[in-house]
């Protein structure tokens, strides 16, 4: 049955080379934790992606309840946390996952740095990786405001004040982030849009580039 469906699609789209390319490429021994336990450091990149997938899935479920306006944002998070079945777990996964993804990405970056894997010919992949790092920090910053409690509000206020101190363009950055005179209703909808549409879009594009390059160039050799 499965084979029949697969063959039907394959005849039309010729997907076998694509799939074989993803599945069959050789993974060398020096990155395999089954052969050398210390090779687990090579898993941090994969784990970052794993946690990112958890973030995307849990985030999708959170948006089923979250209401991005200043009257209801807090109430909807409160409802989700305390009334919805497993709501606390899903929000917990998104909350702690946000920290964990930063930790994993940090470790992955250090592994690449200290093994000198960013060197030629992999320079572009390092730059893309750093851009992913910045996008992740942006996701952390914008997501922090969304529960709309005092901690969220005042942290964002301070963050925007810091951005404002940038010479020449500071006031424009502030206006762009804040969407008005104060941190308020406009800021919340704006941060929500940035957090769930703009940054994840950019993230997925950069991840695609990251994976394409690692596939094309292969993992760096043993030291």
């Amino acid at each position: 049955m499965f084979k029949g469906v697969y063959n039907w699609i394959d005849e039309r789209l010729d997907i076998t080379p694509m799939w074989r390319d993803v599945a069959d490429h050789e993974v060398p021994e020096h990155v395999n934790p089954a052969h050398h336990f210390s090779a687990f450091v090579y898993c941090f990149g994969g784990l970052t992606f794993f946690i990112t997938v958890i973030q995307i899935l849990s985030g999708m479920f959170l948006t089923m309840y979250f209401v991005p306006d200043i009257i209801n944002a807090y109430k909807s998070v409160d409802f989700l946390q305390h009334k919805v079945a497993f709501g606390g777990i899903v929000r917990g996964m998104h909350h702690w996952g946000a920290s964990l993804v930063i930790v994993m990405m940090f470790l992955h970056t250090l592994r690449v740095f200290f093994t000198g894997s960013y060197k030629a010919p992999r320079e572009m992949n390092w730059v893309v990786g750093m851009l992913i790092f910045f996008i992740m920090l942006g996701l952390g910053f914008t997501g922090y405001l969304l529960p709309w409690d005092n901690k969220a509000y005042f942290a964002t206020k301070v963050g925007i004040q810091i951005a404002e101190s940038v010479p020449y363009i500071g006031t424009y950055i502030k206006e762009l982030m804040q969407g008005g005179e104060i941190v308020g209703a406009e800021t919340l909808t704006r941060f929500f849009a940035i957090h769930v549409f703009f940054l994840p879009g950019a993230l997925l594009a950069l991840l695609a580039a990251h994976f394409f390059m690692i596939r094309k160039q292969g993992i760096s050799g043993p030291l």
Binding site: M130, A155, P167
Partner: protein, 295 residues
């Protein structure tokens, strides 16, 4: 016909405009690891299963954390709250603390927000173009490694310092992070509700004011401007730690109330210059009557 049909293909496209596969270039050929001695294996399923084992360990740790520690939630944002200590998420603490240092704040803040972080993160972004040597082992490229180690030490140190400073501030302002207060209050309310036989999660019963229209009390409340902090409904502000007048008689005796109004308590100022001793006596008599109705 522009494109001839190849009889060996199962599907025949009408007007075939597909990009022709060049005979010379096959699909992306994976790099050859035969140069390295050792056992390489296929990505799916052999290697991915091993990576998944590491993933499972992480996943279990992650889920244990998620289940044991609820995601924090404080009180709703109140822009007028002047006593709240702002704190970014932990991974921004080092930058936050950095901006408090003398030569990167106030007059030099541009150096702190753009200058030094710009150079540091710019260098990190462009690392492959700055460290162009062929050597990959970190102990054979000391400049790059030392710069990274020093940055890491600074980041850890600043983060620790920032957190210590936050704990110190909590101590001197005698405050507790809101999500903890909120959780404790919710637990107390649930316990009380359980005692009273109410279903869990029902809101605490409203306590009405006793003798709400009492003319002497109303006049004194107006004179002392109690409503400025305790609210026009005299219900206080839980989030800011301002108590409600409703049911205050259950929490304090008349003598305690006299002491609080005369000498102040926590953030509440003393009223001994605003009100006469007689007025304080009348007000506290009224306050001590504010008890929850008997059940």
């Amino acid at each position: 016909m522009a494109h001839g049909h190849k009889s060996n293909e199962k599907v025949v496209f009408v007007g075939d405009s597909r990009v022709r596969k060049k005979a010379s270039t096959g699909p992306v050929t994976p790099p050859d690891y035969s140069a390295y001695p050792g056992k390489s294996e296929a990505f799916i399923p052999n290697f991915l299963l091993k990576e998944w084992m590491v993933g499972v360990v992480v996943l279990v740790g992650f889920l244990v954390l998620t289940i044991s520690e609820a995601a924090p939630l404080g009180y709703p944002a109140d822009p007028t709250n002047a006593s709240f200590i702002p704190m970014p998420d932990w991974y921004f603490l080092f930058l936050y603390q950095f901006l408090k240092l003398q030569y990167v704040s106030k007059d030099y803040v541009v150096l702190g927000t753009v200058g030094i972080p710009g150079v540091a993160f710019g260098a990190l972004l462009l690392a492959p173009f700055l460290d162009t040597g062929k050597e990959r082992r970190f102990y054979r490229r000391p400049i790059t490694s030392i710069l990274m180690f020093m940055s890491l030490i600074s980041v850890f140190y600043l983060t620790k310092q920032s957190w210590d400073h936050y704990e110190h501030e909590l101590k001197i302002t005698n405050s507790v992070p809101e999500h903890i207060t909120r959780e404790e209050k919710a637990r107390e309310a649930a316990e009380e509700a359980a005692k009273a036989g109410l279903p869990a999660g029902s809101p605490p019963p409203e306590i009405p004011l006793v003798e709400a229209k009492d003319p002497t009390a109303t006049a004194i409340i107006e004179k002392a401007k109690c409503v400025q902090c305790h609210g026009t409904d005299l219900k206080g502000n839980d989030a800011a730690g301002i108590p409600s007048f409703h049911g205050i008689g259950d929490k304090f005796s008349k003598e305690e109330l006299v002491d609080i109004v005369t000498n102040g308590k926590d953030n509440m100022p003393s009223f001994k210059d605003t009100l006469s001793a007689e007025e304080i006596d009348q007000l506290t008599t009224w306050l001590s009557k504010q008890k929850a109705p008997a059940k």
